[in-house]
């Protein structure tokens, strides 16, 4: 695992350092302009998730995977390193971005809200969901997987709008609030700690599912 991290660091160090300095500034400023607690995690999580895929896209561009996979490394180990590296990068971006959001003068949300458990948990949830959906698509389609993801989002949006006009907004809201409501009920019944544990467990399960699917696709990939 360490050797794969080391390879990625040598391969991307200038890019990572450049992005690591500039990108959180951008997210921090943009996030500070958002005043809605529901919108902030949805938008920012996507910006955090993009970072590892830009990195992996560079390796795709150099066609260097053929070379890497000829080295003594299994596909499982290679993919596990990618998942871990992605999470490290996304969490670092999340931490830096949130910190900047809170300290930018005139920020629309107070630091207590930005770092509140609800915001942190929902940001983590969106990061996990976006990443968990994107990774199998990236493994299967390479950089075009990002486009597939965006197209799927657009189509889903259109379908929801159609659905909304035919069955009303109530059902869609119910569907969207299914998980938050379940978490709220757990919190009401057992307290905040079990609720947080339930959310994190759900995210871990989802990520594991994404890893398993990605690995199955990766094992089928030919070079």
């Amino acid at each position: 695992m360490i050797k794969l991290f080391r390879k990625d660091f040598i391969l991307h160090k200038k890019f990572v350092l450049g992005v690591g300095l500039v990108y959180p500034l951008y997210i921090g400023y943009m996030g500070s302009r958002i005043g809605r607690t529901t919108l902030l995690p949805v938008l920012c999580a996507f910006l955090y998730v993009i970072v590892p895929f830009v990195l992996f896209g560079r390796e795709d561009k150099f066609k260097a995977e053929t070379f890497t996979l000829s080295l003594p490394v299994t596909r499982r180990e290679y993919l596990r390193a990618r998942f871990l590296l992605s999470w490290i990068l996304m969490l670092l971006m999340f931490a830096a971005g949130s910190l900047l959001m809170a300290v930018v003068p005139g920020a629309k949300l107070p630091a207590a809200t930005v770092f509140g458990p609800r915001m942190v948990l929902s940001s983590l949830a969106f990061i996990a969901v976006y990443f968990g959906l994107l990774m199998p698509l990236f493994v299967r389609f390479g950089q075009a997987g990002l486009l597939v993801f965006l197209v799927v989002l657009q189509v889903t949006g259109v379908l929801l709008m159609v659905f909304r006009s035919s069955v009303g907004i109530g059902l869609i809201k119910t569907l969207f609030r299914l998980v938050p409501n379940a978490v709220a009920e757990i919190q009401a019944a057992f307290g905040p700690a079990p609720a947080v544990f339930a959310v994190l467990s759900l995210l871990a399960l989802f990520s594991y599912g994404s890893f398993s699917l990605s690995l199955a696709l990766f094992r089928r990939k030919e070079y």
Binding site: K7, I10, L11, F62, F67, L69, L71, P72, V73, E222
Partner: protein, 305 residues
């Protein structure tokens, strides 16, 4: 026999839309697809095997299958006594490779590429790498993308030879190399197998290289093995018969593996040297066939009906 590589009934198919191979007209393609058909051969430890065949015959596919870069449809591959999938890590750490297109991280310097590669091998010998880099005149401070194909190949070779590999798998390593370095490489490979138990699988179009160093030759055409035998046996058995049209008499045709007719006469290839000398010794010229002759006559359009 102790084998460095054993391939048994290996098969692999691509659909016509398969993006991995573009079979040449003389390839395994049928209806535009590609089929590697129950390929079997083995390379004993301590020897060099040359893998030859026309473009699209399946040489690179076999090498990619050995390295588990593509999935086999059937058959078995054992490398250094281990299944190439179950023992992937162990095998790859004891194996050196050079791909036909040396893809590395193009924007890195050679020194940086070395830093990324070395930790993957438990037996990486940095002193050996530096010695080879010096010998091959590799500019370690230069970016990979600025190098010629020949220099990139040299770097790939230096990396492959620097971790005490027991088996070298080289896909067209001499293409793009100047004749001086080609000879040097062949000398290196001969020296490499002097160390007991080390072996080389070497795919190439430059058959003269193999005539110099290979102990075994495997000829693949259209996804099928035509022969896999010791070089001396092949060069002793295969001859080209040069004569007039009388060579094409019906009773002679079954003897020939390939025929070429021109205004100058008839040239025909056979794997039965003794029989050819007995039959045509007086009326035709019987010459030992080179590997290039064999490839040429056995290619589509030159074989007899």
């Amino acid at each position: 026999m102790d084998c460095a590589l054993e391939i048994k009934d290996l098969s692999k198919s691509y659909s016509p839309s398969g993006r991995l191979t573009r079979p040449a007209p003389d390839s395994a393609g049928s209806g535009g697809g590609f089929h590697l058909n129950e390929v079997s051969f083995s390379l004993p430890r301590g020897y060099i095997m040359g893998l030859i065949g026309p473009n699209g015959a399946g040489k690179t596919t076999i090498i990619k299958l050995i390295l588990n870069l593509i999935r086999r449809d059937g058959g078995e591959i054992r490398v250094l006594g281990l299944d190439n999938i179950a023992g992937e890590m162990e095998i790859k750490s004891r194996l050196g490779f050079v791909h036909d297109t040396p893809f590395f991280y193009e924007h890195l310097t050679l020194a940086d590429v070395r830093k990324t590669v070395a930790p993957f091998y438990r037996d990486w010998d940095d002193a050996c790498f530096r010695r080879l880099a010096e010998e091959f005149e590799l500019p370690l401070g230069k970016r990979f993308k600025t190098l010629s194909r020949g220099m990139k190949m040299k770097f790939a070779l230096a990396a492959a030879l620097s971790h005490k590999a027991e088996l070298l798998i080289l896909d067209e390593p001499t293409s793009g190399l100047d004749p001086v370095f080609r000879r040097e490489l062949l000398r290196k490979l001969s020296a490499f197998i002097q160390d007991e138990g080390k072996s080389v699988l070497f795919s190439t179009h430059i058959t003269s290289d193999l005539e110099r160093i290979a102990d075994f030759i495997t000829f693949i055409r259209g996804g099928r093995i035509v022969f896999s035998s010791p070089r001396d046996r092949i060069l002793g058995a295969w001859v080209v018969v040069k004569g007039g049209p009388e060579l094409l008499a019906a009773e002679n045709r079954p003897l020939f593996k390939g025929i070429r007719q021109s205004a100058c006469g008839v040239h025909a290839l056979t794997a039965e040297a003794d029989e050819a000398r007995r039959r045509f010794g007086r009326e035709a010229i019987v010459e030992t066939a080179t590997l290039e002759d064999i490839m040429f006559f056995m290619s589509k359009g030159n074989g007899h009906a």
